[in-house]
Symmetry: C2
């Protein structure tokens, strides 16, 4: 009987090509959220950062059609991380990174860490999450990370810790190429975080309330604001998990077909 010749585990690991990780966000290339994400995972692979040159919150899945885009290589303190600034939206960043910088698909795309929540309906408005979804459309497994704290001095230690745990886990798996995870981290000291909960997206929305004012020339203008309301009392939702100090993980898809309504309408239009 022929003996199998397999390399010892350590050698196997050394032989393995380092995974390529594309990192982007919607708060811009200089935000502390993206710097914290890079720090959390930079020894886990070859990191390429391609992120917007200015804040792009609330850009959803917008792409730039009517204008040209620019890319600029950025000098950072850390030479080991190639960093690019892009004039486009978060989704543009992913498209340009793959087509013009990497010129091949990275093993993983990470987006964030977003300054502020992207749980529940926020997923649909969020540039951070739309960048992750765009990666998944392009067959690159991806994760968006958000911390429930808008402040510039936010404490990212819990978010960094869990980002690293999740990325380490994913890099060991054979991943669904269209995988997107929406990870939100509660704004509490790291020690108070109870762990990770896999959830569904809560049904919640913003009750709009535009601020209505006149400009110095007497012309009326409106400024979007709104109150977040959670209509979903389920204990399996992201909002519930975050309220109870868990990191929420919602797997996200880009097939938007409502199959339940599809069955209903099939009876009407055969």
């Amino acid at each position: 009987m022929k003996k199998k010749t397999t390399a010892p585990p350590s050698l196997k690991r050394n032989n393995k090509k380092r995974p390529v990780i594309l990192i982007t966000n919607d708060d811009g290339v200089t935000s502390s959220g993206i710097r914290n994400l890079v720090e959390a995972v930079k020894d886990l692979g070859k990191i390429i950062v391609v992120a917007p040159d200015k804040p792009q919150s609330g850009m959803g899945h917008a792409i730039t059609i009517g204008q040209p885009l620019r890319l600029q290589k950025i000098q950072t303190d850390d030479d080991s991380v190639e960093t690019w600034s892009c004039t486009g939206t978060p989704v543009d960043c992913v498209k340009l990174a793959v087509d013009k910088i990497l010129r091949s698909k990275p093993d993983l795309c990470l987006s964030g860490i977003n300054h502020g929540a992207n749980h529940s309906i926020n997923v649909i408005y969020s540039g951070t999450m739309s960048a992750a979804v765009e990666a998944a459309i392009e067959s690159i497994p991806s994760v968006g990370f958000s911390l429930l704290d808008f402040s510039i001095e936010a404490d990212f230690s819990g978010a960094k810790k869990y980002a690293r745990i999740i990325v380490q886990h994913l890099l060991k798996q054979k991943l669904d190429k269209h995988m997107v995870l929406n990870v939100n981290v509660p704004a509490v000291p790291e020690i108070q975080i109870k762990g990770i909960k896999v959830c569904r997206q809560a049904y919640a929305k913003y009750i709009e309330d535009f601020i209505e004012r006149n400009d110095p020339h007497g012309r009326r203008y409106y400024w979007l604001t709104g109150e977040f309301v959670n209509f979903d009392k389920g204990k399996d939702t992201d909002v519930w998990a975050l309220d109870h100090n868990y990191v929420s993980v919602v797997p996200v898809q880009f097939d938007l077909t409502n199959y339940k309504l599809k069955s209903k309408f099939e009876k009407i239009w055969k």
Copy 2:
């Protein structure tokens, strides 16, 4: 036994309040697509048009956070239709229309008729469809209409006919308040359209190919282009239906949870 006293059908119909229909789009308030949609349905209810003041294609679910918005009432040839122009995105238009113009929820929101396809993955980039989705988030049943023809002189007769058929049908029903229908119409003469097919969203995507040029000052720029590729061979998809001269109807949802992946990850993070 007490006799039921119900009004005769004709009286019932007369007594019924006229439905309020909000119409928006992403090609802008002056586009021929939106004018055709208004014409197709204007006798079916009280029509209010609130649409962007400039083209907003590819804006996805973007909202305007960092800037104020303006609304302007527009004079049109038809006094019976109240028309407003808005400086924001298609999603902003829906939010502002409900909060500041209607000050209550309309019975139905229609978006389009879009100049160009919004089938398959286009649904996620489309301002037209995002406006419809926003309405549904706000508990307003909605339909987005798109014609597979980009040209300004496109023939909207088939799209108008089917928009009217669909809206007439919906106005007779008790609708799911979160209903969104993505309706696409093939670019063929009306007589060649075979009817309506209820479909799922095809798995298709754009293979990006940015045009790379230097500007007059020698600086590199990139311009998004790309080839549409349908990877989905199913005969139950919107792309299939349109290829076979059917009007495709895909019910759309805004719960993006991937329940299949959720079950998988629940085994890992309990």
